[in-house]
Point group: C2
Chain length 189, copies 2
């Protein structure tokens, strides 16, 4: 951020009076421009014991597999965002059952909110941001070709549930320990 | 938003190519300025069967009671945000046990994430944004002087739990039906 979105004046990074951390503050009109983490909402959509994954047609991680998920938009709920992303990326209709996992990714200022759900039918196909879409069980998941650590963590949790048991609700923090090589640590509340 | 925060050029509200909703797009450098909902993280902090509420020293709802909660900051987890807000608003140290409730407030583009926790001791006092801080049980909660609908919903859920039972995890949507008179509808997933 270099300029004020209200008056086009220059902004400075400084601690406003009464605050305790630096913000972008307009030198002209004094507007404080707060920045906050974003929610990524997504879905574990099951059909006859298998779940839906999408192979990414976009960067980052083009060609790798992910759960349908994306940035929550203004005016919607997290459930609407999860359902919309599943429709957009996998052309699939889903009914949500419950919140399943929340992951904090503080190094990129994202909070994933992943819901469990059921496909309303076996109809799905690649949306514009997907190369292909398919159903996987635990043994067929492309574990070495998953796009994101948060997806790997979620699938490990989900396929680790006791058959016929009660699903958990997980809150995890995924911390990036290093970039080269890329290493993460996940801790659960 | 009137000007581009990258180049100070004017922005227009229009649907970018490949997108499906209007965004603020810079007429000069073509930067797309996305806007997304914010997370409000907070805490139900218990001490000997009573929970901590803060009476607000700031607008909106000056003088009314609320749970310690506030906007999540860049670089932190939702749990860190909830713990920090409890420290700032109630000068109280808390250990979180679990996520308890998620509320979507689409009319103001906020998602509340409220954690259950225990005070580490009976030490608390009003922070800068509070007039007073106190512990309440179900019968002493100032039900007619709560600051926000989301606080009322959360306290109803929390004090409605079975004694000695297992706590639930709730995902609710609070919809504002009208502004005058102020009326809401809450639905749970
Ligand atoms: Zn300005
Ligand atoms: Zn620009």
């Amino acid at each position: 951020m270099k300029f004020c979105s209200e008056c086009a004046g220059p902004v400075s990074l400084r601690v406003p009076e009464g605050d305790d951390r630096p913000r972008y503050v307009c030198d002209s009109c004094c507007t404080i421009h707060y920045q906050n983490p974003n929610i990524v909402a997504g879905c574990i959509a099951e059909w006859e014991g298998r779940i839906l994954l999408c192979r990414r047609a976009i960067e980052p991680r083009h060609g790798l597999w992910t759960l349908p998920a994306g940035f929550m938009e203004l005016g919607e709920t997290t459930q609407q965002a999860a359902t919309r992303e599943t429709l957009e990326e996998a052309r699939a209709r889903v009914e949500l059952d419950a919140l399943y996992a929340v992951f904090n990714l503080p190094h990129i200022n994202q909070v994933y909110m992943l819901f469990r759900g059921r496909l309303l039918g076996p109809d799905f196909s690649a949306g514009e941001e997907s190369l292909e879409v398919a159903l996987f069980d635990r043994d067929s998941v492309p574990w070495d070709a998953l796009a994101f650590q948060v997806v790997a963590e979620t699938l490990k949790l989900y396929f680790g549930e006791q058959p016929g048991g009660r699903y958990g609700l997980y809150v995890g923090d995924i911390e990036r320990l290093s970039r080269e090589p890329l290493r993460y640590r996940t801790r659960y509340l």
